[in-house]
Symmetry: C2
Amino acid sequence: MKNILIVGCGLIGSSVLRAVRSRKISRNIYIYEKSKKNISVIKKLKIGCKIISKFNNASNNFDLIILCTPMSQYQNVITKINKYISSKTIVTDVGSTKETSSKQVRKLLNKNKIWIPSHPITGSEVSGAEHGEKNLFKNKWCILIKEKKTKKKYLSKLRIFWKKLGSKVIIMNSKKHDIVFSMTSHLPHLIAYNLVKTATDFEKQKKYELIKYSAGGLRDFSRIAASNEIMWRDVFFSNQKNIISAINLFIKNLNLFKKNIKKRENKKLIKKLVNSKKVRKQIIQLKQDINRPDFGR
Amino acid sequence: MKNILIVGCGLIGSSVLRAVRSRKISRNIYIYEKSKKNISVIKKLKIGCKIISKFNNASNNFDLIILCTPMSQYQNVITKINKYISSKTIVTDVGSTKETSSKQVRKLLNKNKIWIPSHPITGSEVSGAEHGEKNLFKNKWCILIKEKKTKKKYLSKLRIFWKKLGSKVIIMNSKKHDIVFSMTSHLPHLIAYNLVKTATDFEKQKKYELIKYSAGGLRDFSRIAASNEIMWRDVFFSNQKNIISAINLFIKNLNLFKKNIKKRENKKLIKKLVNSKKVRKQIIQLKQDINRPDFGR
């Protein structure tokens, strides 16, 4: 590739930047970023990229544009860059939900423009360009969204791009994507937030020090619940329907769990606990486990 | 100390064994263990301890007896060892709940015997003697239970024992203990189990592969939900009342969270997410965080 534009250069955007540069994937890398803090971090990297602040100065000959802003910024961004997108530019993103955001972008983009959403399953509880890593995508899943009208030629190009970054690429439609990740990512994050909220409410009620003893389990949830609030607000709102179904199923199961405890239903409870262990084994067998917590989004 | 008896030599018991031996805390260490697998592991360690299978052969001159079996075994164990406990022997345990189990042991123990429960806040999702570590208790909290009748002299001796193992000792009563840990440990474990259960139910319903994508958050919960089922059944049953209150508070908050999403209550949602991050900061400031997940129990 000759020209890549990265829009938004926080944790993910700056990781794309580092990965593309270190693997020599594109001759020129353009960065569109507003945060002064992120710009200062990127400049210090001395990585060889052009930071642009307005689009009228920019080349309109991008091979690839990657939206790495929070999803709630897409509308704003697309409106600004629409006329700089050629009919050969692949526009993609890294957002964690797909159905709503993808439709929104499709509507805004001029006709015949190429839009293929991506979702690299990686991330961290920390945000900002300073936390970017050139190997953030290595050996991680990256989901590409294929709808009826998606052209194979460009899908294939985008797949090669992510593979060069080290990702294992999977293709699915946006509907399936949002259902799968409502359960493997969105619900777990929401539950972690809710647990931390419940613990702080409880601490106030009882006037006990709790956080001090968080090593008993709460600590590991708090890591997940420290993720970026704008990103997660966007996820919760844009995958509303699937997340609400997931919450409902979770509450139904939680009430059954409570009943098992209340009525001392030994066999049922043991079965539940043993089955969870089997899932853990599956995860280890699938080589999805690692030593350091490194959850995706 | 001259003689220590460790009853049950799995993950925690064998860690006590290794810690006591490596720190030269007791001249003689006796192990009471039924599992052939654990016995074989301990023998291979060549650590210098006496494995006893019946109590009539044992010395009745123990300075300290530590119950490291699941809590549901306490009744059985105490009945067997009651007559080998002298009036100077400190009897303690490592169980994760205190109010019910402590009363039960107190009732069973012959009068004037010294019973001071302990709860080292450490553990792992793996069980068995082979996973024991001599530094498992180092820099970890250890809660000692003080009730009205607890004699200071023996409490002080027990505190010194855990300090020698590297623990930071905290003293509280069993009621407070069970309330605090219902929130910082028991609820998080239960929630992790429930999340894994919900994901597997969902996988069956939708016929989607889910576990494959568990890196998005589910994976980190599955680690917590892989803990020993007998231990956790005992915890859930013995701290029934506090855990049910904790579940109720959690469900109340979860319904509010659902409402925030459903009605797109932006400000309320953002506030919730930002507050969680603050708790994370507190945990890091309290030096309760570590790189590798190492939740307690």
